[in-house]
Amino acid sequence: MFSFCSDPSTLEGLRWLSCYLTTVKHANLYIAVGTVLLLLAITAPAALAFGFGGAMAARSRIWPLSWVGKGYIAIVRGVPDIAFFLFFVIALDQIFEVIRHKVKCPDWPDEIWQGSDFVVCQAAKLPLGNSPQWVHDAYGFFLAVLTFAIVFGAFAANVLYGAMRAVPRAQIETAEAYGMSRRQSFWRILVPQMWVYALPGLSNLWMVLTKATPLLFLLGVEDIVYWARELGGTALPRFTDYPHGDWRMWYFLALLVFYLGLTKVSEVALERLMVRLSHGQATTGGEAQRRAGA
């Protein structure tokens, strides 16, 4: 990075540190921070969408739909995350590949499952074996987002399902008295009012989600915890220009600061959101706002 970095063994103090912290390996850590933030930014709305769909299905009057919704919530909430990540992602990947295999190589002579092996034709591979590494990374990232969205979506569905039931019945009754259909009262009365009941539960989920990213390495996505462990591990002079002892404590301390910062920012944002959502609501929070304003 800097011109004086060409011979690190002669450097000391701050100059050494500035060279050390700008190696390509460290750049990977900085990129991983971006990866994690991007993942959170995409996963949170995706999980919310899954949750909303799940909750809507669960409270549907059409019973097969209601079973699907309730089954989704129950199964995902019941299976440990790590089992889900190890099994589900590989299964998901294989489902995609089997479908592509059936379409692209209809006259393939061999079995797909041979003992413990899973073999599809080259053209059905996802991503293709000869595609560049970034495609593989992007695909892994996509699988990660999808899995996170499904797992956290189930929890969000349960929260939203409860929140929808928490909206006072009188509100719906009034809507019905105005002659609104079930659909209208759902979208115009229920949904705008339920968020204030859902937010505490959803904010918990968000906090858990921000800390769940180390599970990503199971999918081959290298997150910040992976790089902190990798960079902090003892570096022997034979294998690096920047030898050091076991510095994992310092790297994890940096992670601690990062996560505390993220938590603080989240708390401030969620608190503001809560104030906004309480506005004009028939809750104690909303009532307190009305009085303060009056």
Binding site: I90, D110, Q114, S116, F118, V119, H136, R229, P237, Y242
Partner: protein, 239 residues
């Protein structure tokens, strides 16, 4: 005759197509110097990087490197996320039931105990080892208390902070660490484990296995494999 010609041409074309797609993805752990590690430039480096690149050159394959967690390195191979494991993996019967191995590219080599003092109770003490290694299996059967860790680095840290009395690992991995740290020393006798280190491939992938087998053999024959082993000090050399 004509039919033969046509089928030969078709076969040649298929072979040509197969060649064009021949990107072989090599999976490694990237946390086990000198075998494999991530260097300052963020690239996979070490004995196995150099070896893998040379093997691919000899076999005329186009290879790409992928890092994967040790815990899930075999499941991801059999489900096709990469095509071969080259990660200091010893050839054992248990692994051989799930995947296939090429011939070994390092001879069977001793494992060793590394501890903080000479008088460690190796038979009944607390011994650290990496999860899913032959060493972990050996400790579990030896009667000592096994303390497992996900990465090799953590097993050493456990000895340094007194959590474990000693660590059992490949001697070649422990040697540079013992050299750097005066507090750590080899304890007890070396333990011969495993049938050497080989590349892991899917059982259904006999062709790839044969290709790498031939490439390894050619490196054994011309002595370049021994030279590489000596350069990285990973094990003893072949006779």
């Amino acid at each position: 005759m004509k039919k033969l010609l046509v089928s030969t041409a078709a076969f040649a074309m298929m072979a040509g197509m197969a060649m064009a797609q021949d990107v072989v993805r090599l999976g490694t752990e990237g946390a086990y110097p000198p075998w494999n590690f991530i260097n300052d430039a963020g690239q996979v480096d070490g004995f196995e990087r150099e070896l893998g690149d040379e093997l691919c050159k000899r076999a005329e394959l186009n290879c790409e490197w992928v890092t994967n967690d040790w815990d899930s390195i075999i499941p991801n191979l059999v489900s096709g996320n990469y095509d071969a494991i080259i990660a200091g993996m010893s050839i054992t019967d248990e692994r051989d039931q799930v995947i296939d191995f090429t011939q070994n590219y390092t001879p069977p080599d001793p494992s060793a105990y590394l501890g903080m003092s000479e008088d460690v109770d190796l038979a009944g003490g607390v011994i650290a080892a990496q999860t899913g290694t032959i060493q972990a299996g050996y400790v579990a059967e030896s009667g000592a208390t096994l303390l497992e860790f996900a990465t090799p680095e953590e097993t050493i840290a456990a000895v340094r902070n007194g959590e474990a009395d000693a660590v059992l690992a490949d001697k070649s991995y422990l040697a540079p660490i013992a050299q750097e740290d005066p507090d750590l020393m080899f304890v007890g006798d070396d333990v011969p484990l495993g049938g050497g280190v080989g590349m892991g491939v899917r059982e259904s992938d006999g062709e790839l296995r044969a290709t790498f087998d031939a490439a390894i053999q050619s490196m054994k024959d011309d002595g370049s494999l021994n030279a590489m082993i000596e350069k990285w000090e990973v094990s003893s050399t072949f006779e």
